[in-house]
Symmetry: C2
């Protein structure tokens, strides 16, 4: 099973925000740090803002910060938000897909239970547990003597 | 998070084999029943044979059958086999991907624990619990009187 890159990258951004408490980080800076598309990260950040996990500050020194303390944000909640629209199997999509077994299927409930176990396990961890600090500054080249 | 269609379709085939114990079903018949590609199902069946979950019988009335009793085949084991090569996140691929956080990442272990919880939950169910019988035969059109 696979998490969407949307979720993978979203988690990376949140881990960095958790590692720089009180500091607003721009999507451009995060994109450069991670070597990822700024456009893609901006879309993920928008979802995180809509979901109330991140808040933004405008102007000079503006950017994104966590909306709550990192120890108040559980990973299961983050993954639930970012994975919205990525159904585990075809029949979990609201339209329901086109499975010939639908109606007499006893698998669906078991898959839902497994998905719930996955998220419950992640909910045991908060962003504070997985925070990542700023990368070390690259030292300037030593001047030739 | 998403299971590969390989896994989704593989589970459907196994559920039907579990519902017809002692009877060999051809991939062609399963493909027709489910409205799925025969070629795709044949590739999945090959993996199930290699994994020791399914065995095949040649000749007239030949086809695939479960290699063990359905109550001896756990869903977690099936999903582990069919999801091989579908890493949860980029860094779970043996080559390791290209994540800037690698090295100081504390998320990876938490994701592995969540994946294990997902599979452990599925291991509580066997194919016997989710067996699906043959679809009802379509009655012939009544003759006009």
């Amino acid at each position: 099973m696979r998490l969407a890159s949307f979720t993978d990258y979203g988690l990376r951004m949140l881990m960095r925000l958790a590692g720089s408490p009180g500091q607003a980080l721009s999507t451009a800076a995060l994109a450069e740090e991670f070597g990822l598309s700024r456009h893609h990260l901006a879309k993920i950040m928008q979802r995180l803002v809509q979901g109330g996990i991140v808040t933004t500050r405008r102007g000079g020194g503006g950017g994104a910060m966590l909306a709550r303390a990192p120890d108040q944000i559980r990973l299961g909640g983050v993954v639930r938000l970012l994975e919205e629209g990525h159904a585990l199997v075809e029949c979990f999509v609201p339209a329901g897909g086109n499975c010939a077994i639908t109606g007499q299927c006893r698998l669906k409930g078991r898959l839902r239970a497994a998905e719930a176990a996955f998220l419950a396990e992640l909910d045991r961890t908060t962003l504070a547990d997985v925070a990542v600090g700023a990368p070390p500054c690259r030292s300037p080249e030593p001047a030739e003597v």
